[in-house]
Symmetry: C2
Subunit: 345 residues, 2 copies
């Protein structure tokens, strides 16, 4: 257990960016940090100082921005094991997590090895009171804005008791960071009726019904994700991960088909030129880079996890999101609410 005094008081700290992580090395990290810094976010770039200085040199005027380099001599490669974080103290993700733990950074952002980011966050930051396991909250574009889905992959197997905890965390998150009052929570299942589902969802449904502090809508189905029936959808990390990757993959294939269709004949080509911008606006809505990163909810500090393939825009948006979460004092709010067991308004 913890109390408020343990938590960092300042909410204007720099954001720690694991600048060594990701499929494409330092380049998208540094470019994203430069863009975020121009928007007023202070960023600590963590990694090999020589490489980071060289990369910063590509950005004229970067020296005048609120960017700071913090040395880390090691990095967990994308093909290494998440458990490697235990033995490798100087790995960039461990350095980033310690900066958050020590109150020197307000949040960490990594597009590196996501398992390692989860492990380092859990080991170094620890869990919030009353939370058995942290979960990844991600956004899926939906008819009326985005739906917050969790768990998107931190826990392949779950106990039913995790789900009301996650519903509580997500409710406070949306209220605090996104300003959505009294967000609705749906339990992902295979029928709207209370008695439909697998063993875990049936048990979770009963727990969610009696969970204080959340606005439980009931079961939702796969078709409700894009419909945006609820603000939040809770599910196990296996199903959530499949949903997230299916949603992204389907959009990619459908837009590929549309692009082909728009060049399938002379007539379609001509029309295609005229609708190009309108169609691109729809495709942008589906682009994960818009959301930047997912948040690991349930640890005692802000931890954001992005795609390994994230580009500069995604890194920038992740840093902006992390900064907003810090300014809203999310961790203090979560901690207070969990300790008080107070209702979400």
């Amino acid at each position: 257990m913890t109390d408020k005094a343990d938590l960092p008081v300042s909410h204007d700290l720099p954001i720690a960016l694991d600048a060594a992580g990701g499929d494409n090395g330092a380049a998208p990290n540094v470019a994203g940090a430069v863009a975020a810094a121009k928007a007023g976010v202070r960023v600590m770039l963590i990694g090999d100082p020589v490489k980071l200085h060289a990369e910063l040199g590509q950005h004229p005027g970067a020296a005048q921005l609120p960017l700071e380099i913090v040395a880390a001599s090691d990095v967990i490669g994308m093909d290494e094991h998440a458990s490697d974080v235990r033995g490798r103290k100087e790995a960039s993700i461990n350095v980033a997590a310690r900066l958050v733990k020590d109150g020197k950074a307000g949040a960490l952002v990594s597009i590196g090895h996501s398992g390692a980011t989860m492990a380092a966050s859990l080991l170094i930051l620890g869990r919030l009171p009353g939370i058995e396991r942290p979960a990844i909250l991600t956004y899926i574009p939906a008819k009326n804005g985005a739906v917050a889905l969790l768990d998107a992959g931190a826990n392949a197997d779950v106990k039913a008791s995790y789900l009301p905890q996650w519903a509580h965390l997500a409710s406070i998150y949306l209220r605090t960071v996104e300003g959505r009052e009294n967000p609705t929570v749906g339990l992902l299942s295979i029928g709207e009726e209370d008695h439909k589902g697998n063993a875990v969802t049936l048990e979770a449904h009963a727990l969610l019904r009696t969970q204080a502090g959340i606005n439980f809508h009931g079961n939702v189905e796969g078709g409700d994700v894009f419909k945006g029936t609820t603000d939040i959808i809770v599910t196990d990390g296996f199903t959530g991960n499949v949903v997230l990757k299916l949603a992204e993959g389907e959009a990619r294939v459908l837009f590929g088909w549309i692009r082909e269709a728009l060049t399938s004949s002379t007539r379609a080509k001509l029309g295609g030129l005229m609708v190009r911008n309108a169609v691109r606006a729809v495709a942008d809505k589906m682009d994960p880079a818009t959301y930047g990163a997912s948040i690991l909810l349930g640890v005692r500090g802000l931890s954001f996890i992005g795609h390994g393939s994230a580009d500069a825009r995604a890194v920038k948006n992740a840093l902006l999101r992390a900064s907003r979460a810090q300014q809203s004092q999310l961790i203090a709010r979560l901690s207070e609410s969990l300790q008080a067991g107070e209702a979400v308004q």
Copy 2:
């Protein structure tokens, strides 16, 4: 256990259509049956003879088609319980299943209560040898043709041992009915690596590795569904049902956005008229009516389950698919292969 002699010998029997089932009553069923009959499929329409005769009267020339009405005095309503099939022998779905069992119909097709269709099929037709539970095989459109996904919802909770059985059934199905030689099987999971997954998929992965008669590709992820990485994807009925409904729901929302985008400005409207047919062709690819119905694999008879909201085109396509499955002697092939434990070629 059973042997070949038990199985219906003829493979040119009429198809039993539960014409009373579905959200919209007899109309789409009768219209679909008329269309299928025009394409040469013999259909038994099961339901209230007065209503069915009246509905057939709407279709000039129907009297000359190979359509037969079989009376059933009861129907399981969409909001009733699947378990009701036990006590209600005269319900249309029970009559249909008995016609298949007795060798008077070659297959049953229903767009009625899907739980009732599963229950009636299982109770009346029984299971194929070596199959613990039947599974629903459905099609998801993918880059290179459609992917066969199972279980799409018959089993919310599964034992790992079901999955290699379903992989075997689906492999023979694709080979026999679709003419796809040596189809590849993917296990839906949350990472390509063998060690990624939940408890059930880890155990199933090991079983699939050693299962004779299938071409096991390994794990696939949510993003592989639309990519069409494998011909077949096996998963539990909870995840499969979420995948199916998400895939349909996402397509509906994306095409809705595209339609809006194509009327968002004068320029887009003009271009929209020129690309309308090309975009509609893509939307058609995603329309579940193209596939007509899913098949319940693992029971000793052909049983096809359609959407409650299916239209005449979907019913027609389901009847054509059922007829094709009958002509390919699918049940005999499945039974032989399961008894012999022979390898799929």
